[in-house]
């Protein structure tokens, strides 16, 4: 089996038939353990591509393949579904307000592993511990959790079905810088520990630079530049990439505590 997990070829995405495409000419490959960034402003089509990657939006042209198979027509309980999971931007809207952290994660285990309630609860505890949540906190509902804790629950829920790719759409843009650091560190750890591939969608080049090896820069639904993240940042060829680099606030300051 090849390590090619996600393959997007000449994909075009539209939200409704006949409407203008939200993204066109997208080509992207994600292999096991890779970290890929998609950078752009709101309206650039980066979230659309993210939705295409997780199969909640089908391409109107071209193809999106997960382990060689298209999302379209994939059955609800097809094991390939486990391969790709998503982490969302808004830590308030992405969790069911009526379920505790533990119940949220346990539900995934029950559905995918057919585990009994008590087994699933124990397994949920382990997964939540992996993202740094333990003790009484995991029995709280989202309203009792901080933004950073909620985002960890969201990551744990995605991990619970054993994915190989995590697609994260602006996972930290609603968080304080100090909390963002926690979540970014966690994603680094998960990549190292689980060999998880990460697709990070963000408007913040500093975050993309920090976490990814390869990146796509999107503008108005098209990819304007892509390549090795470091090269992209040091030798940007497209004007827009240069603008983005110039917008990083408080440019890297040489500093060590």
């Amino acid at each position: 089996m090849s390590d090619l997990l996600l393959e997007v070829t000449d994909a075009e995405f539209r939200y409704a038939k006949g409407s203008a495409p939200a993204a066109t000419g997208i080509n992207l490959e994600v292999r096991a353990g890779e970290a890929v960034g998609i950078v752009g402003e709101s309206g650039s089509g980066k979230t659309t591509v993210g939705r295409g990657l997780v199969g909640s939006l089908h391409p109107s042209a071209g193809a999106v393949l997960v382990q060689g198979r298209p999302w379209k027509g994939m059955r609800r309980r097809d094991p390939v579904r486990r391969v790709v999971q998503m982490v969302f931007q808004d830590p308030y809207a992405s969790l069911n307000p009526m379920l505790s952290a533990q119940a949220t994660v346990a539900e995934v285990v029950r559905v995918w592993d057919g585990a009994k309630a008590d087994v699933a609860t124990v397994r949920a505890e382990e997964i939540l511990a992996e993202v740094g949540l333990s003790g009484e906190v995991i029995r709280r509902r989202p309203a009792g959790l901080s933004g950073g804790q909620r985002q960890r629950v969201g990551i744990a829920r995605a991990l619970a079905c054993g994915p190989q790719v995590l697609v994260a759409d602006e996972p930290t843009s609603a968080l304080d810088v100090s909390v963002q650091a926690n979540v970014l560190n966690l994603m680094l750890d998960l990549r190292a520990r689980r060999g998880l591939a990460i697709v990070l969608i963000s408007h913040d080049l500093a975050v993309v630079d920090y976490l990814t090896d390869r990146a796509l820069v999107m503008l108005n639904g098209k990819v304007v530049e892509q390549g090795d993240t470091r090269t992209l940042l040091q030798h940007p060829s497209h004007e827009y990439t240069k603008t983005l680099i110039g917008s990083i606030p408080g440019k890297p300051l040489a500093f060590s505590p």
Partner: protein, 326 residues
């Protein structure tokens, strides 16, 4: 210190009897830009609310200290006097203001209403257009006719700033003005602020959780934690050699401060909550350098070399360039 446009001295605030701010002091000279930095819950937004006289709306009141603005002691004023100063001489761009515009009124009618109210002598239409030009909105005439939902987030934020400028304020207070915006838009908004200051000599108080945001704009940085000020200093100095472990951690948490893949500095634990402030230094439970003295005695804000101050008993392994207590 007669040159300061705004000075807050030893401000203490309680909400329903619970102390939420204690001994907050800061000074902002005319033409100055001050960055007020801290995490959610550090008290930075409450300080803004106190300054704007908006505490009674959330059941808070000033119990100690004073707020002085342009020769007036705001904390001694009644509600009406305060609101006159607030609307006219201090402009306010509140947090999460992206949804603060009235969705059923055009931008023009909202802006004109503010101008009529706050700048009675002005020619309303001309002034409204001028305000939108000040915040660098292209096609101001077109924007005046539009409704808020027809504008992008960045444009709406510019309109909010224009509204705050209607009374020709001497001080503009902006609470997290760029938090929900794209970096490119953020950059543009920060440039608007820099322009405004250069053009009109207005003072700015920028509140944010990201030190990077104020690094390019502010002269002075005030860092808050647990309802009090922990460090004050010149921006470049604070950014290059922080004198408080909390500031150092905030800087180390920024992805731009580290090589890719290198772990970011995180602050263990959760922010100090009012009512559960520890004795001694409020940062103690989360500080990796805490010593015995820190758990017993609360450090006060003391002057350091280089026109700076910090509230820390000092820690070993502190950066070489970091200032020491005089």
């Amino acid at each position: 210190m007669t040159t300061d446009l705004l000075s807050i001295d030893g401000l203490g605030v309680e909400i329903a009897g619970l102390p939420v701010l204690s001994d907050v002091s800061l000074a902002l000279p005319s033409h100055g830009v001050l960055g007020l930095v801290g995490e959610t819950g550090s008290g930075k937004s409450l300080t803004c609310r106190a300054l704007m006289g908006l505490l009674p709306r959330i059941g808070g009141r000033v119990v100690a200290g004073s707020i002085n603005f342009a020769g007036n002691t705001l904390t001694e004023m009644d509600e009406r006097g305060w609101s006159r100063v607030r609307g006219g001489q201090i402009g306010f761009v509140p947090q999460a203001s992206l949804n603060a515009l009235d969705p059923v009124m055009t931008v023009g009618s909202q802006l004109r209403e503010s101008v009529k109210h706050l700048d009675p002598g002005a020619e309303v239409n001309a002034r409204s257009t001028e305000l939108l030009e000040l915040v660098r909105l292209p096609d101001p005439q077109g924007v005046l006719r539009r409704y808020p939902h027809e504008l992008s987030g960045g444009m709406r934020q510019r309109v909010m700033i224009a509204l705050a400028l209607a009374g020709r304020p001497r001080l503009l207070v902006a609470d997290e003005p760029t938090t929900a915006l794209d970096v490119t838009v953020q950059k543009a908004i920060l440039e608007v602020f820099a322009d405004l200051r250069a053009a009109s000599g207005m003072s700015l108080l920028l509140v944010t959780h990201d030190l990077g945001v104020v690094a390019d704009v502010a002269d002075t940085i005030v860092v808050m934690y647990g309802g009090t000020v922990v460090e004050v200093g010149n921006t470049t100095q604070v950014m290059s050699a922080p004198a408080h472990p909390y500031t150092a951690a905030l800087l180390g948490a920024r992805p731009a401060s580290r090589a890719p893949g290198e772990r970011l500095v995180t602050i263990p634990g959760v922010p100090a909550v009012p009512g559960q402030w520890p004795t001694g230094c409020r940062f103690v439970p989360r500080c990796t350098h805490a010593q015995d003295v820190c758990r017993i005695e609360q450090p006060v804000l003391l002057p350091l070399t280089g026109d700076r101050s910090s509230a820390c008993h000092g820690w070993p392994g502190q950066s070489e360039e970091a200032p020491t207590h005089v």
